[in-house]
Amino acid sequence: MDFDPEDINIPESLTYWGLTFGIALAASLVVAFLLAAALGGKKGIPRYFDHLGEGLRDTFGMSLRRVMAISSLTVKESIRKKTLLVFVVFAILFMFAGWFLSGANANKDLQLSVHVSFVLTSIAWMVFPVALLLSCWGIPEDIRLRSLHTVVTKPVKRSEIVVGRVIGFSLVGTFVVAVMSIVGYIWILRQIPPEIAKAELISRVPIYGHLSYLDRQGQPTNKGLNTGDINEFRGYIEGATKARAIWKFENLGESSLRLNPATQEKELLMENSMQSFRTHKGGIDDLVESSEEMEALLLHGQIVLENPEKNLRVSLPQFAIREFHQNLNWIPRKISSTDEETQETKTYDLIEDLIQDDGSLIVEFRCVDAGQYIGMARPDLFVRLPEKPFASSYFKSIFGLWMMTILVIVMGVTASTFVKGPVATLLLLSVFLMGTLFQHFMEDMLAGNLKRSGLFESGIRILTHGNPEVGKEGSIEESAAIKRIDQGFTGFLKLASNAVPNFNTFSFKAYTANGFDVPLRSAILPAVFSLLGFLLPCFLLGYFSLKLRELEAK
């Protein structure tokens, strides 16, 4: 894994959402009030409050029967509009996909991840346009053909139309996702040879620890060394020095153990995938034959389990670091260790002696070879709980995709309440692109990580042919006034950027393709919260736009 799964902080997220939503809501209420007072004259203000009251009534007094009537109408409409032709495209894609993928990788675990990513990506790319077009064109077409007239002249609340449409399209989207995901699942099972599938088609369930480092003098540091990688994700420690990588795992206990097939005992399984960096190539001049000898040529690491409460340190045997492979360390329940000072050999119990009372375990890792380096990031060493079936991870990824589909539908229906079909489609497409491809750029820019990137500053610089790399002191574009304007503008953009969901949140592909289960707190919950966070604002926006507009298509 080349990223760090971070757990969601629920109170913090809720506060942030509440604040942003609150500010936006308050701002729109104030603006609406001022507009009503300015344009509506004497009647404006009472009417403003009428609408607010009606809004509350329409939100809470929806009739399930009417909502379901509109939903089922929407489903029928989507089907009769030949939406399901998307399955034909999907089928064609999968008929030929074998050509593209087979043989791309002779390496089996790589092949697996390519197949899984392919399925998840193509489902996303098939479902997205369907969701986009359906949701963006539904209401505008209804208005254009005036069929909506026959609906709104019945006792139907506008809120019921918005919700009914959303539910209807969601049902269609759900059906499409469901069919495609099942086909995709079967396809993966058929494409992967059974002997590989058995070993590789699994969902690993990791427990990640918290990682800290000691430098070569043994002093705590929060970062390892950089050995020249562009990506600074991993920090390296030097071999045969006091440099250490220390993971602290929480919530371990009897239930974290699993059966080791070799010993038939319950043991703790750790997996590592660290990286080696050599300053010299080592003994490759003499040919060795056996794989044990080959293994000996690799860099070696060693784990020391530590329990500060009992002042215990237990060293485990050294092991080879085979890069980009899954390296497993089985830690037995009973560990014998020789005390360095007293030379006394004692046997310790993993659960009783080494795991602390609060369930935490400290794992200290060192690189054995002098002058060589081993690099690691937090997810590079983890405790592996018993695996779940591949379906668990796969269908969680599908669940993520489904949530994305729903979000697109919700946003599409919302957009279609105030603009026409083509405009809504473009609007949503832009939001989607911003929320996927340009998400990083946007975050960087708003966090101020991009130097000299202010809007007005850059604008002037373009006109004056200035150089953004060096800048020019005393120029207009770098004056305090322009800086202040840009700051204000960035502040506004920061608020506005909350309207753009990070669609990457919904992609759990990286987990499933790498054979991991999708974690609840660092992947599923953030996605669920993102989706929920957008529901209420979208509903309010869609409801009021539909309510406050004339439904005559002109």
Binding site: A104, A106, S113, V114, N231, G283, I284, L298, E323
Partner: protein, 443 residues
């Protein structure tokens, strides 16, 4: 124009469309079949300039489909993918990198640079990132297979044959890990898949890696010699020397592995043969007309008459081109190594070093001295080689071993010994040779 009614206008447009279509349809008629010159002008031109997809090499159906699907967007799409590949490489996401390169060449199956760059990237840059030698070998193979696939789809690009040969010959034979790689080329480390034999995608006949490379170089030369085709790697003469160089590499590798037998003798004799009879007898174009590297006075005369330049000019350019490809050095070396005495000397020195490593210093000293003496005797006949780096380094290295035995046994170095003159003459080189010696004896 505007006062025409809508129907007239539509009729006019329609007429215009038909009028314009006639030449297009006429020119673009598809060719009727295999015979040349059938079909419309475009079809004729296409076959004349070999622009048809199928004339470029084997057509990959998925690639053709993909290009149709993307219509005009494939340039953009492949640029995006290229960026993605770079990012994946930075993140060491090798599986995705491999898949992405595959997608890129689906989009650009006839873009030479894409094949060259990514094939090289896999065999060199990706390979070196892996710590396990077996993994490194896997990625060298990936690079070679990638290029081989490029050859299959682009039969008329000699560069791609050359790169494939270079990775199989030089990357495998000259890396730090050459001992492993050469062994793996004969018996793949993925025993499960290849049953202890070679990866049959690359080496179906279980040959030496240099000899497989040589086949590729020959193919490269064959294609390069076709009319209208050129390679973009280097001067044409140097390009054409590669089959012979592969033979040199093979012969030298046998020596490095301690094989001083009939096989190595034949290897060197063939190397001499290829260098002087095959490569040396080819005509190469120079500013002074065509030259032959291994030319007799009659050749010079004939060529100068044919090209209408003076014999002096011919001789000058022949000389200059010989310098450029170190023609005389390789010829002398092949001649020297083909001699039985040379093989004796090499064997003695090789065995002497082995004894040194096993700390059997007396044996070692005896063999080294014997080898040095034979070496000195050999060089009497090959004066021109005395100044060549490779020879000097070999000699200095041997002397260093021999001297070091004296150090170990705390003995005086005798005043006179074979190659002494050589040793004194090249003192300035010690600085660069000594680290190699240290490394050799440390391992």
């Amino acid at each position: 124009m505007n006062n025409l009614d809508s129907r007239t206008r539509k009729l006019l447009y329609f007429g215009g469309i038909i009028l314009l279509s006639i030449p297009i349809i006429y020119l673009g008629r598809p060719s009727a079949g295999m015979e040349q010159g059938s079909g419309g002008k475009l079809a004729q031109l296409r076959s004349e300039y070999d622009l048809g997809e199928s004339t470029l090499g084997q057509v990959d159906p998925s690639s053709a489909t993909m290009n149709l699907v993307l219509l005009g967007m494939r340039g953009v799409a492949s640029s995006v993918l290229w960026n993605q590949a770079n990012e994946e490489q930075e993140n060491k996401n090798w599986a995705s990198l491999r898949a992405t390169t595959q997608s890129i060449i689906k989009l650009q199956p006839h873009f030479r640079k894409v094949w060259e760059f990514q094939g090289w990237n896999l065999a060199y840059n990706v390979s070196k990132e892996w710590d396990d030698v077996r993994d490194r070998y896997y990625w060298v193979k990936e690079g070679a297979k990638f290029l081989k696939d490029g050859v299959r789809q682009n039969e008329n690009i000699p560069d791609l044959y050359w790169y494939t040969g270079f990775i199989l010959g030089n990357k495998i034979g000259n890396s730090d890990e050459w001992k492993y790689f050469r062994k793996y080329f004969i018996s793949d480390p993925d025993v499960k898949k290849w049953n202890g034999g070679p990866d049959s995608d690359l080496n179906p006949n279980r040959l030496d890696n240099y000899l497989v490379g040589q086949i590729w170089f020959y193919d490269a030369n064959k294609v390069e010699a076709l009319p209208g085709i050129e390679q973009h790697r280097m001067q044409q003469m140097l390009f054409r020397a590669y089959p012979s160089h592969a033979q040199f590499g093979y012969a030298q590798a046998l020596y490095k592995e301690g094989q001083f037998n009939e096989q190595s003798r034949e290897a060197w004799e063939l190397a001499y043969e290829l260098w002087t009879r095959e490569f040396g007898r080819e005509e190469h174009e120079s500013p002074g007309g065509f030259i032959i590297l291994e030319s007799t006075p009659e050749d010079i005369k004939r060529l100068s008459e044919r090209d209408g330049v003076s014999e002096e000019t011919k001789r000058r350019w022949t000389n200059s081109y010989q310098d450029r490809c170190q023609y005389r050095f390789w010829r002398s070396l092949a001649a020297l190594e083909s001699e039985d005495l040379a093989r004796e000397a090499r064997r003695n020195i090789y065995d002497g070093k082995q004894f040194y490593r096993d700390q059997k210093f007396r044996e070692s000293q005896r063999l080294l001295e014997l080898g040095m003496e034979q070496f000195e005797r050999l060089l009497l006949d090959y004066d021109s080689l005395k100044g060549e780096d490779q020879i000097i380094e070999d000699a200095l290295m041997t002397i260093l071993y021999w001297k070091s035995i004296h150090d170990v046994r705390d003995e005086e170095i005798p005043a006179e010994y074979p190659l002494k003159q050589f040793f004194d003459q090249h003192q300035s080189r010690m600085e660069s040779v000594e680290p190699f010696f240290r490394r050799e004896i440390e391992n």
